[in-house]
């Protein structure tokens, strides 16, 4: 891991050999995440999938090195994710964002993220929210990823997806338990806020009719239809 840090630092300093070595190290994880994201969401889009994977992989690497490597500099091995796992999260986020909107979404600045989140979450109504289709769920997930900084994305992965304990996250990140609980709560609030916004902007469809329309529009496999 120290070697990875040293390699990353060299690449960020412009060392051509280190950059190539880093690309060779990371391209399997980036390509695999991009390919899975593309194929799960865009089956039968008509474009050559390998060409699209290549283009998206390039976009991910450009995103990693953009603004003086801001995203890569946010990686810290002591927080518990390997460089490849961290870049895998970024690759998923970038690929999904590009496929959804056709362009990269700017990253939230970590320094302002907490303030912005607190402000934007102040008005979240305390109501039960439901996500009523797979498509809505995917959109919600994409918007959640886009709303988080690289650090927020790491915490989302560890606390929500991997369901790591607050104590374990505290131990590897050096954060206080209050801070980690606060993050966990914020992520939940962000999800609720986004779900409420999406519900407000999308027409309400009775559950029965919705399941019918899902069959026509969704790229789901037949074994997912119930």
């Amino acid at each position: 891991l120290d070697d990875e840090r040293a390699l990353l630092d060299k690449a960020l300093a412009g060392d051509a050999a280190a950059t190539r070595e880093l690309v060779a190290l990371l391209i399997p994880v980036v390509q695999a995440r991009v390919a899975r994201t593309l194929l799960r969401r865009r089956a039968g889009s008509g474009r050559d999938a390998r060409q699209e994977v290549e283009d998206l992989a390039q976009d991910v690497f450009i995103a990693l090195f953009a603004d003086g490597g801001k995203v890569l500099r946010a990686w810290d091995v002591s927080r518990g994710l390997s460089l490849a796992s961290f870049c895998g999260l970024i690759a998923e986020r970038e690929a999904a964002s590009i496929l959804r909107s056709g362009r990269r979404s700017p990253w939230t600045e970590a320094a302002t993220e907490l303030d912005d989140l607190e402000k934007s979450l102040a008005e979240v109504p305390d109501v039960e929210v439901r996500v009523s289709s797979r498509e809505q769920l995917v959109r919600l997930l994409d918007r959640l990823r886009e709303s988080l900084s690289p650090r927020g994305l790491e915490l989302f992965h560890r606390l929500v997806i991997e369901e790591e304990s607050v104590e374990a996250v505290c131990a590897s990140t050096g954060m206080t338990s209050d801070a980690v609980y606060a993050w966990k709560s914020r992520i939940g609030k962000v999800v609720r806020k986004l779900a409420v916004e999406m519900a407000a902007s999308e027409p309400r469809v009775p559950k029965k009719a919705e399941s019918v329309s899902d069959r026509g529009d969704s790229p789901r496999r037949s074994d997912e239809e119930t």
């Binding site: 051509a16 190539r20 690309v23 391209i27 959640l144």
Partner: protein, 267 residues
């Protein structure tokens, strides 16, 4: 349980289940992307068995096969261009050597005298290196923003005339005299002071070997010349191989170095 069975779960729990399901094959797809095969990897073998019954899994495997050293080199070159670009802009802001920076900027802003090579098609005759097909001769057409829009003089055959600001477009097209007998790989380098640096531009290669380099003028800040280096994947095992040719500026039967001087034209 699939996503639609889980309507009663809270959104965060549904997101967790969805992401976990999506990631179920990630380790196997990464193994495919590393070039591992079913005879040596049980992960890959299991995934390939499923691919026989699931077209989506088969498509994911196909899309995850290694992109190859060519693509890796291209990505590394783009990153290098980005990093060196950032370094260049930083040095301009910090002005570590003001006299030198200012002199260079002034020189760029001047109307540069015509180059001896202007309007001449760039033709190279192979000198013959052992092994592998040789590349055909190439000619070049370079266009700045006005020529691309058809608003100015016809595109120059040897010189790239840049007008307008940093967002003005440019295009360099290299056409082979005959169809290339092998797949052509192309790199574009900006030549200024110091080492050649990869140009942050899109490079398209047609099956017959024609190459188009197109991008924005900002990618050529500080450059006096673009060198387009053409060869085959075998010629460029490492990025340095292409860089070395760009540095030397010399062609041979296998590798073509096409030189395109830049003229910056005042409005």
């Amino acid at each position: 349980m699939n996503d639609d069975d889980a309507l009663d779960l809270d959104p965060l729990a549904r997101i967790r289940d969805h992401v976990r399901a999506e990631r179920a094959d990630d380790a196997a797809l990464e193994a495919v992307a590393r070039g591992e095969v079913s005879s040596t990897s049980e992960l890959v073998a299991t995934l390939e068995r499923r691919a026989g019954e699931d077209a989506e899994v088969a498509a994911m495997i196909a899309a995850s096969r290694p992109l190859g050293p060519e693509v890796e080199a291209k990505i590394a070159a783009k990153i290098a261009a980005k990093v060196s670009g950032a370094a260049a802009s930083t040095s301009t802001i910090e002005k570590p050597n003001p006299g030198r920076v200012i002199a260079f900027v002034r020189r760029n802003a001047m109307y540069v005298a015509p180059f001896a090579v202007a309007a001449a098609a760039l033709l190279y005759v192979g000198s013959g290196r052992q092994g592998g097909p040789e590349l055909p001769d190439y000619s070049i057409v370079a266009s700045g923003e006005r020529e691309m829009r058809g608003a100015g003089a016809p595109p120059s055959q040897g010189v790239l005339e840049l007008r307008g600001g940093t967002e003005a477009g440019f295009e360099i097209v290299a056409r082979p005299a005959t169809r290339a007998a092998t797949r052509v790989v192309a790199y574009a380098f900006a030549i200024g002071e110091g080492e050649p640096s990869p140009v942050d531009a899109k490079i398209d290669v047609a099956p017959e070997g024609a190459v188009k380099v197109h991008g924005r003028a900002r990618a050529l800040d500080g450059a006096r010349e673009v060198r387009v280096v053409l060869g085959t994947a075998a010629d460029f095992k490492r990025f340095e191989d292409a860089l070395s040719h760009a540095r030397d500026g010399k062609s041979d039967g296998h590798v073509r170095v096409l030189s395109v001087p830049i003229v910056r034209v005042a409005k």
